[in-house]
């Protein structure tokens, strides 16, 4: 048996090759759908950023109000010391105008809506309002209630978590990267489409933290993805 293909096999491949590619109509249709998906995803990302900003502002406002509550006893005296044109002295900028912000802190609905936009199939939601502002100051995953693993997490959610992990690695925050990839593992039961990426990031983060479990994780990685293209990068990262 020769190692080369015969003329019949070559003819078959030549005849098949064009039929194995999508026709132009299909390519155009897929592109349209893809553009919609990307636009929705981008909208979700912006909404997420705006949501985080809103949360930060809400927490900051809450802190200010808390301080204001603490200083209520001295308010009349303080008001006297504020110039007349200062917003704090203007009813339009007064305490009442700030009330809706802490209301956001008490009511989890707005942040939830934003989160849902970012992740079309969110797996877990914060169960108590108190957890919502907490996400603005610490890695959100650690402040969520325990989740039931879901084997088929939405790809968008997977990408979001991997993006978050990679961004954390770039920022030098290996602990935050670990939190993100472990959230990914939890939500996908370790069987997500980006499980290999998540595992690679986890090993990289562990190496950066000089965690002794990195070697064990690397061995498990090799066993599961023996042909991984990421292996050489891990070798250089964990040198």
């Amino acid at each position: 048996m020769t190692d080369e293909l015969g003329p019949a096999a070559r003819a078959l491949l030549d005849a098949a090759r064009p039929g194995l590619a999508p026709d132009p109509t299909t390519v155009a249709r897929m592109r349209t759908k893809l553009d919609s998906s990307i636009a929705a995803s981008a909208g979700g990302a912006i909404a997420t950023k705006l949501g985080l900003l809103a949360l930060v502002l809400a927490v900051a406002t809450g802190a200010l109000l808390y301080g204001a509550e603490g200083a209520r006893r001295d308010r009349s005296l303080a008001a006297e010391q504020v110039p007349a044109n200062e917003p704090a002295n203007d009813p339009a900028f007064g305490r009442e105008s700030l009330v809706p912000a802490p209301a956001t802190t008490r009511d989890p609905a707005p942040p939830r809506a934003i989160e849902d936009t970012a992740a079309p199939a969110p797996i877990v939601h914060a169960s108590t309002p108190a957890m919502v502002p907490a996400t603005s100051s610490t890695p959100p995953i650690t402040h969520r209630p325990p989740r039931h693993p879901v084997a088929h997490a939405d790809l968008g959610r997977e990408v979001e978590l991997i993006d978050r992990a990679m961004a954390a690695m770039r920022a030098g925050d290996a602990a935050a990267a670990l939190a993100a990839v472990r959230a990914h593992a939890s939500e996908t039961a370790g069987a997500g489409q980006l499980a290999e990426d998540a595992a690679a990031i986890e090993i990289e983060a562990l190496c950066r933290l000089h965690d002794g479990s990195a070697g064990k994780r690397l061995a498990a990685f090799d066993a599961r993805w023996p042909d991984s293209a990421q292996r050489s990068r891990l070798s250089s990262s964990c040198r």
């Binding site: 048996m1 020769t2 190692d3 080369e4 293909l5 015969g6 003329p7 019949a8 096999a9 003819a11 078959l12 491949l13 030549d14 005849a15 098949a16 090759r17 064009p18 039929g19 194995l20 590619a21 999508p22 299909t26 390519v27 249709r29 897929m30 592109r31 759908k33 893809l34 998906s37 990307i38 995803s41 981008a42 790809l155 968008g156 990408v159 991997i162 993006d163 990679m166 489409q193 980006l194 290999e196 042909d227 991984s228 293209a229 292996r231 050489s232």
Partner: protein, 180 residues
């Protein structure tokens, strides 16, 4: 104002990324499509699978950095996406093979594209994943064996060995079709 500058910077990056993404999509959508097919994604799921691949590509393009060939990167993403889609059954394609059986080397040249593609895919379905992948990349994508070895992160000899065995299997299957 710094806040404005910060707001504009991602927008500029998005435009640049969009231009690159357009090029990647246009140049490689067929490659991704065939790769997904090679890995057993059924026709009904191909469009969704292609979309899944390019959603990931769009999000991760800034991290790509060009350290590997774009096809290598796309291939890796497509392989993972394919694994999440249901593998096709081979029965339909086996029926096509039987229906198309005629005789002579010119049989396949006269086939329609769809028939030829279905026949090739039916033969590929009978190979194991390792051989099918190397065969498809060399014979359908017309990549060099060293490139394929690098892409799959396997030794060159291993790639040649898999290709040789895959060619033998393909040749046998084709001969079985053209015999009177």
């Amino acid at each position: 104002m710094p806040a404005v500058a910060h707001a504009l910077e991602p927008a500029v990056q998005d435009v640049a990324r969009s231009l690159v993404f357009d090029e990647v999509y246009t140049s490689h959508v067929a490659f991704v499509w065939r790769t997904l097919r090679t890995f057993g994604v059924v026709d009904a799921q191909l469009e969704d699978a292609v979309q899944d691949v390019f959603v990931v590509v769009h999000r991760r393009l800034p991290e790509w950095e060009g350290r590997a060939a774009i096809t290598t990167w796309l291939f890796a993403i497509a392989r993972r996406v394919a694994s999440s889609h249901r593998r096709r059954t081979t029965s339909d394609r086996t029926e096509l093979l039987v229906d198309d059986r005629a005789g002579g080397d010119d049989t396949f040249a006269a086939m329609s594209r769809a028939q030829a593609a279905a026949t090739v895919l039916a033969i590929l379905d009978q190979m194991d994943d390792d051989k099918r992948t190397v065969f498809a990349l060399v014979e359908l994508e017309q990549l060099s064996v060293p490139d394929v070895a690098r892409m799959l992160d396997i030794k060159l000899n291993t790639a040649y060995s898999r290709l040789r065995l895959a060619r033998q299997a393909f040749e046998l299957a084709v001969r079985a079709q053209v015999k009177p």
